[in-house]
Assembly symmetry: C3
């Protein structure tokens, strides 16, 4: 179950949000990337950007998708890409925090640390930062309408092929 800041959040809603994030994490941590788009609304925003650009309000992004179809394309590309060396990405996520409830959805934030492991090498820090999410009710389920992943490092490695 998730924490909340300055907003009223009944236990029932917190459980549903915890399950959304748990399902999202389990899919990505098991490498079930084909299921990734299911967690988003048909029209959505998924962006990976740097803290520098985020705070300057710049729209520039390393990854930019604005529909579930674009997310699905990205997964196909990921599966077809053989240019990158075999690697594993491990996500260790902080507890999501509900920070606002508005007409256009619930705003949540979540810190993340990603670790990369190349074949026959030790694991290492890959990227860390914080996600800014908007979650909405869609067809009886909670979905991400927006997930903006903000990397603390300005230079995001080109090997970032997996979703956060």
């Amino acid at each position: 179950m998730i924490g909340a800041v300055g907003v009223s959040a009944p236990a029932e809603l917190r459980l549903r949000l915890a399950d959304l994030y748990a399902g999202y994490d389990a899919a990505l941590d098991e490498g079930a990337y084909e299921r990734w788009p299911e967690f988003f609304t048909e029209t959505c925003l998924y962006r990976i950007t740097s803290r520098e650009n985020h705070e300057a309000g710049l729209p520039v992004a390393m990854v930019y998708c604005e529909s579930r179809a674009m997310l699905a394309d990205r997964v196909t590309a990921l599966r077809d890409t053989t240019l990158y060396a075999p690697r594993l990405l491990r996500r260790v996520m902080g507890m999501p925090v509900l920070v606002a409830v508005a007409a256009d959805g619930m705003r949540l934030q979540q810190s993340f640390a990603l670790f990369e492991t190349l074949l026959n090498e030790p694991s290492r820090v890959f990227l860390c930062g914080r996600c800014y999410d908007r979650v909405v009710e869609a067809g009886g389920a909670l979905k991400f309408a927006e997930r903006v992943c903000v990397s603390d490092a300005t230079l995001v490695p080109v090997s970032l092929v997996f979703p956060i």
Copy 2:
């Protein structure tokens, strides 16, 4: 409290599972390794293996214990070993996710990042990966019947003497 994916999990059960993991983490993070076997059933499976071997279905493991007594032996060995340099292991664990409920127990998964600190050195990433657990009711309490720790790195350092 923990998240759940695709299974019905009453709030009461989630709380009990959260407390199991909280107790396990607190014992290990405080170095109370003598208490570690208590969290397992009499007959149990505790394994540390690599992602490579895990996905290939190979039984090879860096650590393999199949009873509480073997876990206790391992703790004794750990306490008696003076070959390794003084070090601390810090565990930063993701939220456990309940992914299935079956006749033989509940299946949960949990990502982990371990950090090692040697005397007068900075902390560093030691190992990361994901645990695959089976939890059962035993004598009125929840216990691990199985905990399989899968390291992303193929080469697990020999200095891994502490439980995950």
Copy 3:
């Protein structure tokens, strides 16, 4: 919601504790350091020390504050300090665990991993360890009466200017 070990903790209390930690994390992760002292009681103890000193019972500390006013001073100093290179600190925190309830408050523990990112450099492990907290009711809200952050590394970098 948080886990508990060996103590009775009603769901309602767990939610309030989860929200305390969620609010604390959100403030620090968003760099809203001016709000940091609000999470503490008027008279309080905030300390950063090493595992070595902590276990030896030594009072020596890298950071030592014993009132909300001292915490506020520290934030002012942090804002005025221009000696350090621009850097971001990312906190990835474990689930807080409630380990005791006594007359003088509730005792909680929480593991942490901090990552530092300097301009145009990749993120790296900065510090990891465990916090030992005492939380009390104060004016209808939960506040930290004590937060002792224990670093696994003996040598804490001088660049640790941000609160944990």
